[in-house]
């Protein structure tokens, strides 16, 4: 449940192409695999709807009128520490990403370039060009600053993305696609942006959801992809057949999507929706210290804050970059969806 576990044993060969990994994982699944997993989707939806409706009623009773958002990042925040989740909502961090998150930003864009068949010959210039085209001026500045400090800060991320080249049109790789559950008549919204999707009903192939992670494997990533499988299942009417967590220095961790993983994702989502509604109407949040206290906005005043441990800089066993115990993701979505909470 937390961000510090490292289920590294289920990852694969870092040199394998994404397509090879996907095809090998699909082969043993029977032709009715997806249908069997899909059968649980309506019941799971009904169960989460019931909990979301109760949460919306709670908000109504307290005059909280705006749509309550429980995006993936909030779900993860709530699972770590309720007080911290509330603090991050009340005081959004506008300082820009730290170094680990910036490497995550760079990796996402290198994957984009590789998947689009675009050359990666001058990675920093190409990264800046992509960010500029996406209107990410703030991130451009951060990249320039990071490169000024360390010219090679992103270099090691480039070669592994070769695994993303030459994905066939038949699998139609899509990047940053949306999956959103609008619950309780739109009062509660859970949304996610998938790093990549392959296949799916639009191209008549089994669906595959891929999350790109620049850091080391963590249990939280497993839960994240399970949530995405659920949201995609509700969006498309069928779940993806596979979820893949792709790590540049550890390879891909592949898991078939089944009724069990969808059910636990739905239970976690229902819990988060209930908890968030309670916090919005004023319940005192619990405090759960952990490594995440280091980037918690409430750390200076929180009596439970974990003592700071200086552990930055140790290289990972896979020979990758220094592992920073920090969020390695920056949402591509703009913060303003115009709906308040």
């Amino acid at each position: 449940m937390d961000g510090s576990d490292t289920p590294a044993d289920d990852v694969g060969d870092p040199s394998a192409t994404l397509l090879a990994v996907v095809e090998a994982a699909l082969e043993p699944l029977g032709s009715d695999w997806v249908e069997r997993a899909a059968a649980v989707l309506p019941d799971l939806r009904a169960a989460v709807e019931a909990r979301a409706t109760a949460a919306a009623e709670l908000l109504d009773g307290h005059g909280v009128e705006a749509v309550a958002r429980v995006p993936k990042s909030r779900l993860a925040d709530l699972q770590r520490c309720e007080r911290s989740a509330r603090a991050r909502y009340l005081h959004p961090d506008d300082r820009g990403p730290g170094r680990a998150a910036l490497r995550g930003v760079a990796l996402d864009r290198f994957v984009l370039l590789a998947a689009q068949g675009s050359p990666l010959s001058a990675p920093t210039a190409e990264l800046l060009s992509v960010l500029d085209a996406q209107g990410e001026e703030g991130l451009c500045d951060q990249v320039i600053e990071a490169v000024a400090e360390d010219l090679a800060v992103f270099d090691d991320l480039v070669d592994p993305t070769e695994a993303w080249r030459d994905l066939p049109d038949e699998w139609w790789p899509r990047l940053q696609s949306a999956a959103t559950a609008s619950l309780a008549g739109g009062r509660i919204v859970c949304s996610g942006r998938l790093d990549a999707e392959l296949g799916g009903p639009l191209v008549g192939r089994p669906g595959v959801v891929v999350e790109v992670k620049s850091g080391a494997p963590r249990q939280a990533h497993v839960e994240e992809v399970a949530l995405y499988a659920l949201l995609v299942g509700w969006r498309d009417g069928v779940p993806p057949a596979l979820v893949v967590r792709w790590y540049p220095f550890h390879g891909a961790a592949v898991a078939p999507v089944d009724a069990g993983s969808l059910s636990s994702a739905a239970a976690r989502l229902g819990d988060a929706v209930e908890t968030w509604a309670q916090l919005l109407v004023g319940r005192t949040p619990s405090e759960s210290p952990g490594p995440w206290c280091r980037w918690c906005p409430d750390a200076p005043t929180c009596p439970s804050a974990a003592p700071v441990q200086v552990s930055v800089g140790a290289p990972t066993s896979a020979g990758g970059p220094a592992e920073l115990p920090e969020d390695d993701e920056v949402e591509w979505e703009p913060p303003d969806d115009g709906v308040g909470s």
Binding site: V67, A115, A133, Q134, D169, T180, G237, V281, G282
Partner: protein, 290 residues
């Protein structure tokens, strides 16, 4: 739907359209009088016109609309061209091939609209890749909303209408339609905002009014879809829905005419309002929120 449950006859929908236009004229006359009236001798430059978009009509705070920020930053190239390029590709799609192939063909021969072609010409290969990725995501998203159907007519350009006799322009993005251009039966509006029934109703009425301003009848329905949901929500177009849209246009025009007395509507959205620093209701709204 008519009271009997069938489609509303064309002549009835024609009368709704002309009633809505008359209602808009009369209401603008009431709140504006001679302001923003085109007198036929001098046509004011575009920057002096009032422009009201489908986005504006869903924004709750009229003051924020009436007092726009001076330093609106220009949109990124992906924001600028994604939607138009995606619809060009979808218009090219045969419904069977992987949709990305239709995008390849579209990009290979792109000349129109010139503003899209010119924007792409200026890009290096990395920026073009970013645009392509964004276009593919939009195509996949809208296709999942309409369950892959390929019989829609995709509308590439925004609909624009100048209110007769006024320097007021209405603009709306309608993404696709079923039916003839002058007699559409269904319009599709796909957006990245959070699903919201109340917004759907306002947007549907506004888009129906703008798109069919010079058509022969309003559409039977507007279908609204939202990124990532894989569904569309139908809003039947009725005189009431059109009246809501007319009301929003009139409210916003009145707010621009008299910004000092324009209503404030504090809410969660104040967090991102450029006027927050000088707006007490906005500040206390956020100060008081959980």
């Amino acid at each position: 739907m008519s009271a009997a449950g069938g489609p509303v006859p064309l002549e009835v929908r024609q009368s709704w359209l002309s009633d809505a236009r008359s209602h808009l004229d009369a209401e603008l006359e009431r709140v504006l009088g001679d302001r923003w009236r085109l007198d036929g001798r001098r046509r004011p430059p575009r920057r002096e016109w009032v422009t009201i978009s489908d986005f504006d009509v869903t924004q709750p705070c009229a003051t924020r609309f009436a007092r726009p920020s001076d330093d609106e930053s220009s949109p990124s190239v992906t924001t600028l061209v994604t939607r138009a390029l995606a619809k060009l590709a979808l218009a090219e799609w045969d419904g069977v091939e992987p949709p990305v192939r239709a995008l390849d063909r579209t990009l290979a021969t792109l000349a129109e609209p010139a503003w899209v072609a010119e924007a792409l010409d200026e890009l290096d290969s990395a920026a073009r890749a970013a645009v392509r990725a964004s276009v593919e995501a939009w195509m996949a998203d809208v296709l999942s909303s309409v369950r892959g159907r390929s019989d829609l007519r995709w509308e590439v350009e925004r609909a624009r209408v100048d209110v007769p006799g006024r320097s007021i322009r209405l603009t709306a993005a309608c993404d696709a339609r079923l039916g003839e251009r002058l007699r559409p039966t269904t319009l599709l509006v796909h957006s990245g905002r959070v699903p919201d029934e109340h917004h759907d109703r306002i947007v549907a009425g506004f888009v129906a009014l703008v798109v069919s301003f010079w058509a022969q009848a309003v559409p039977e329905r507007v279908r609204c879809s939202t990124a990532g949901t894989g569904t569309t929500r139908a809003v039947p177009i009725t005189p009431e829905v059109l009246a809501v849209a007319v009301g929003r246009i009139v409210d916003l025009a009145a707010a621009v005419a008299e910004p000092e007395t324009a209503p404030l509507a504090p809410g969660g959205w104040c967090r991102w309002c450029h006027r927050l620093g000088e707006c007490e209701p906005g500040q206390s709204q956020l100060g008081g929120s959980t």
